[in-house]
Symmetry: C2
Subunit: 217 residues, 2 copies
Amino acid sequence: MALIRSVFQDELDNVSQSLVDLTAMVATSMQNATTSILTSDLKLAEEVIASDEKIDEIQHDSDSRVIDIIARQQPVASDLRALVTALRIGSDLERMGDLAHHVAKIARLRHPNAAIPAELVEIVHAMGDAAVRITQKTGVVIATRDTEMALEVERDDDEMDALHRKLISALIEPTWKYGIETAIDLTLLGRYYERYADHAVSVSRRVYFLVTGKFAS
Amino acid sequence: MALIRSVFQDELDNVSQSLVDLTAMVATSMQNATTSILTSDLKLAEEVIASDEKIDEIQHDSDSRVIDIIARQQPVASDLRALVTALRIGSDLERMGDLAHHVAKIARLRHPNAAIPAELVEIVHAMGDAAVRITQKTGVVIATRDTEMALEVERDDDEMDALHRKLISALIEPTWKYGIETAIDLTLLGRYYERYADHAVSVSRRVYFLVTGKFAS
């Protein structure tokens, strides 16, 4: 019995490790997507776009493994909740990969032109950095179940929201001179970064709930 | 044993029925959100915004019930897959509710002004209709597991994508005269309808995969 329990525990740890690995992958994707759009780097944009399939595949494998564990081990209570949470976290991370992919697609669409006007580079750069920082922290939250850090992720997201508002404010300034198409690109970009961070928050909240049984407020 | 099996089957049917009910709710939400934005109806927009909480609550209850069934019945193979699929469908539907809520929030933000210029009313109206039609069909797919209809939902989504492209084209016409703010609103609106339909497609694909073991292509 102790042995079976230990095998099960190993399986849970493996699932958790896959999710941590996925977190690192989607952080790298968003990092590269941001660089590709800020530097009009087509090769890097293509890399991000291609890597999304790999992320989807890993998430899909991780999901299958989780379902297989549920079927074989028939866990109840907290173990079952942890496995269901793993499925949900996988789905958030997969979506974060999609959003990095969307950013890279705008870089590709506008190449060889710059998608971002010079005076907005700083904001987009900051949104990219915030996205990566939040995701790295989220990886630590998954690995350690640190509830304090889960709450920190919420605060980091407030910073992303502030950057997002700043970006939209710049677009609606009467002095805006880059036309509608660029404004549309930046509206969508802003949305992608914001949603990306939202999913990281969602992951952290799921871990918080799993550990404490309470919703992070 | 036959009795236990039958109780389990009843439980699965109840889960499925909750999801069908949720589908009807998010269709109504998007219908009302569209009407509220096309007619600048603040009261209706507020209704949609308030109903989102109800949708979240129902989805949350449905999820808890599914997890409870897994814990008690310890299903394997296709029954387990059906329950995991139910969790995923619930999460898609919950997100569709959020997106209807986002549409209503733009209506509220711009009230008493019209958010949509007269010449774009027709496209937004068509996107709203397409969203509702896709969702209703998706409800039937959940209820009947009709794989032909699941494929139809994919085709209906192509129509939504075409409308979305038409909307964006209108924004980047050199003759566009409604300014950046309206273009931003419409960019986001277009995105909300598109994502809403994507989630309906995702639900239909999940049912298709559950029934056939193959991905809908």
